[in-house]
Amino acid sequence: MSEATRIEENVTCLGCGCACDDIAVVIAGARIREARNACTLGVRWFGDGSLPGAISGGRSAAIEDVLREIASLLRSARAPLVYLAPDLTCEAQGAAIAIADQLRAFVDGVTSSTSADGILAAQRRGRASATLGEIRNRADVVVFWAVDPAASYPRFQSRYAPNPVGVYLPQGRRDRTVIAVDVGAQRGPADADVRIQMTAEEEQLFLASLRASLAGRALGNQSIAARVTELATRLNKARYSVVVTDAESPPSVPSGRADSLIALTQSLNATTRCSLCSLRAGGNRNGADTVLTWHTGFPMAVDFSRGAPRYTPGNAAGARLAHGDCDAALIVGNTNAIPTVVREALGATRIVVIGPRASESTLSAQIRIDTGVAGIHESGMSLRLDDIPLPVRAVLPTPRDTASLLDALGSAIAAQGASA
């Protein structure tokens, strides 16, 4: 018997932060059979769509009872943590943040472990940026700074830059100059038109010299002078350049890269136009930062313990857990994507997991509730790495909707009285 096959068109993929929204998902027999247009990461992201649907660890199997049990576990904690793991819709992220506020908890997510440098630098300096559609249509010089998107952002080059035809680049790739900047082992794309290489140890001096050169100062006879001059010249001559950096891959030797690239790209706007594009990984990470920002004014590491948001990026989830500062944790989302530093520090904490495959999580959680994955089993909003909001749509049923479940948990917490 042949199974009925349906195709869901224009599905948004959260396999990385590029959030390609042109995926055709082929479904038969309640399984994903194919994710057309998807890259290898995307194929992995969609998988076959199968999910467990269990509730485990509670004294009762009835969801209302389990939510009450979680509520009292969290309310009895002295210093609870609410942790936003990836693979959530913005709606689920918002519901989790509301719970943190209610509990006077500490709320954080993966960003503080993986991408804090760029965010803190942008809080100090601002940033000159452009959305991916703008880059696609306008950028005539594309600098890949210590990143080859082919590995972690496979469709970046074909969808955004340098390959597509743009309004102001009618010949697509041929109208653009691609510059690969290799920093030690962090290499730019192999097929770049220009390659500039430096060791990881040279990066800091290179960036400083590049900015000095652009400001019109002499470089003397430093060994990097010729390379700096070449890049400076090309950036100066560009109509609209973009510098692409991987916000998830810090330099192997501390170089001030995040700060320097912001300062570089901002200052180029004195004479030409230039933007910085910071790549982010998948699972709606930028969504977590942004939703937390509109709820609290801060993008990560927010402490509600005094009854209003406080920003503690220097004492984020990993550090707090390591110091034993959190005695219970509500982890929402995909626990497989939690950075090691946080995962290992979770150790002895009492843990509740609400998220896709919670029942299979390797964390030693007391209570686990399986929900769905944003954009596969759950609908809502996500944010692309460039702050463009995109719809995500359930193509398969969810065991239970994360956002609704968290709203119900919020009500259960409220029903047990205001937090002390």
Partner: protein
């Protein structure tokens, strides 16, 4: 509460010709009704002043740009933690942060606490409208809507260049329909696209934007025409070229003349009413602008008053923010957005001792005080650009209390004020009814909101009740009672309830042959699929358009 009679207050309802008369206001099921049974609950408002809920026609509270601004300002938010209010309606109250760009929940609570019940976000990139709706969902109490940015949209420019004006109009309708927007916004027409091309100055309304047939003038004409042909309740909402630049009054008046005879709204006119010469001298040109508006009934405006203290400049006008960044040395965000628009953000402080800030403060007050028709020149600070919405009560005091204003005038930098009308002395003091006009009745009329801004039968029961106080700033900063759609949200000056507000949007019709051409354009150039562009799931009913 389904029924309530408010008795004994002095009613200021200029839309219905009521100027301080004592009378009852009857409320049933969220609306104002003619009468109620004798046993209906009563709220005694003897000695108090009753107005419709305030309406902010132009603020920045819910957009990707606003959240970028929020993210940029951790140091400001750290200074302004805001605890959750003590609500007794069963909703879970939320903490937040204040400052010039408060968090969303705090924004909703604070507007309601000031007696404002309707707010429009003035600049939303259409492609990012989905986030605006999500942020408005998290902005309690107030009814909210937004204006969609169209003046630098590449597809629109393309239609103008090709002479496809019907398609340009259809596109404007499609954008509003797809985004759940309320009105068409134009920011620095053509100038944001030029900034992306590294052209930093628009010298005249006839400067070419790529094609010689696309100019700021044509963009204004086409979008003003589209708004009027579509029968939108609010006309095209215009932020002119050359914001904040000395001598820009010439461009402002040219823009007004370009649209002479057509309905148009010119926003934050204070920032566009400067005499003098770029890079050389500054002076007030408020009188020229006020005189033009006074004598052209088709024109409406809001002031965009500058208030001394901290602000965050946050606009789709990317070019101007680069200038501000370089002149102040303060941190700067620029974001060029998807061939549609731009965004620039720079934190800023207006200081009494600074010559330009003092001039700006004076220009705004002159626009208010020289305007002969308060219905057409309404209150705004372009929050958070000229100052926070939290400064509205102080602004009201400046308008109502000449002694206070004159005293304040003495403390500001006088360098650029010679010859200005305010420096020469303006005796005018706004009356309570005029305040009601510039903060509720006028914005409602400009926005075409029939059920708002007044207290007649059928109006939304959005009502603010003030205790009288000789200090008008105090009176307007702490309303005694605020009702939103009939629910008492503020009682005895305390926020008690936080119901969700409604969304205000339009759904104009368009000729769907547009979609064939637009589909090809999206296929060729967009980073988002056409099918994923429209916002879906808006629950409230749209405001009707005349063209629908």
């Amino acid at each position: 509460m389904t029924r309530l009679r408010i008795t004994g207050g002095a009613v200021h309802d200029p839309a219905n010709g009521i100027d301080g008369d004592v009378g009852d206001i009857c409320i049933e099921n969220g609306r104002i009704v003619a009468s109620l049974p004798a046993d209906a609950p009563t709220l005694r408002a003897g000695g108090m002043v009753i107005m419709a809920g305030g309406i902010d026609i132009h603020a920045h509270i819910a957009a990707t740009s606003v959240s970028m601004g929020r993210r940029l300002l951790p140091e400001e938010h750290a200074l302004h933690p805001v605890a959750a209010p003590a609500l007794d309606d069963g909703s879970i109250p939320r903490s937040g942060t204040g400052g010039t760009v408060p968090s969303t929940f705090t924004t909703g609570y604070r507007y309601a606490g000031l007696g404002y019940t309707t707010v429009f976000d003035a600049a939303v990139a259409p492609v990012a409208a989905r986030q605006t709706h999500a942020e408005l969902d998290d902005t309690p109490i107030i009814d909210g809507g937004f204006f969609a940015l169209l003046g630098n949209d590449e597809y629109l420019h393309r239609q103008i260049a090709a002479g496809e004006l019907a398609r340009a109009k259809d596109y404007a309708a499609w954008i509003l329909r797809s985004t759940g927007g309320y009105a068409i916004k134009v920011v620095n027409p053509g100038g944001v696209e030029l900034w992306k091309r590294n052209v930093r100055e628009v010298k005249t309304l006839d400067d070419p934007v790529g094609s010689s047939s696309v100019t700021p003038r044509r963009i204004l004409e086409v979008l003003a025409g589209a708004a009027n042909d579509l029968g939108l309740p609010h006309p095209v909402h215009i932020h002119c070229n050359n914001l904040g630049v000395a001598g820009n009054v010439a461009m402002t008046l040219d823009s007004m003349r370009a649209l002479q005879g057509r309905r148009a709204h010119f926003t934050h006119l204070q920032f566009h009413s400067y005499g003098g010469e770029r890079g050389k001298s500054w002076s007030s040109a408020a009188r020229q602008v006020a005189e033009y508006v006074n004598s052209h009934p088709e024109v409406t405006g809001d002031v965009g008053q500058v208030m001394f203290g901290d602000a965050t400049t946050l606009t789709a006008d990317g070019a101007v923010e680069y200038l501000l960044h370089t002149s102040t040395g303060r941190k700067w965000i620029n974001s060029d957005i998807e061939l549609e628009t731009g965004c620039g953000i720079v934190p800023y402080s207006y200081r009494e001792k600074a010559a330009v800030a003092s001039l700006q403060w004076v220009v705004g007050l002159e626009l208010f005080l020289l305007s002969s028709d308060p219905w057409r020149m309404v209150l705004s600070t372009d929050h958070p650009n000229g100052g926070s919405f939290m400064s509205y009560p102080d602004l009201i005091r400046l308008l109502m209390d000449r002694a206070y204003r004159d005293e304040k005038l003495k403390s500001v930098n006088q360098k650029m004020l010679a010859g200005s009308a305010l420096a020469d002395g303006i005796a005018r003091e706004y009356t309570l009814n005029e305040i009601a006009i510039i903060t509720r009745a006028g914005p409602a009329r400009q926005l075409g909101l029939a059920a708002k801004g007044h207290l007649g039968v059928g109006a939304d029961a959005d009502i603010t009740i003030y205790s009288r106080d000789a200090d008008f700033a105090k009176m307007f900063s702490t309303p005694r009672y605020v009702l939103k759609a009939g629910t008492l949200v503020v009682e005895e000056g305390q926020l008690r309830r936080a119901p969700a507000g409604k969304r205000i949007f339009v759904k104009p019709g368009f000729d769907d042959t547009l979609l064939r051409d637009l589909g090809k354009y999206f296929e060729a150039y967009s980073s988002v699929r056409l099918a994923n562009y429209p916002v879906t799931g808006l629950r409230d009913a749209p405001v009707p358009t005349r063209g629908a």
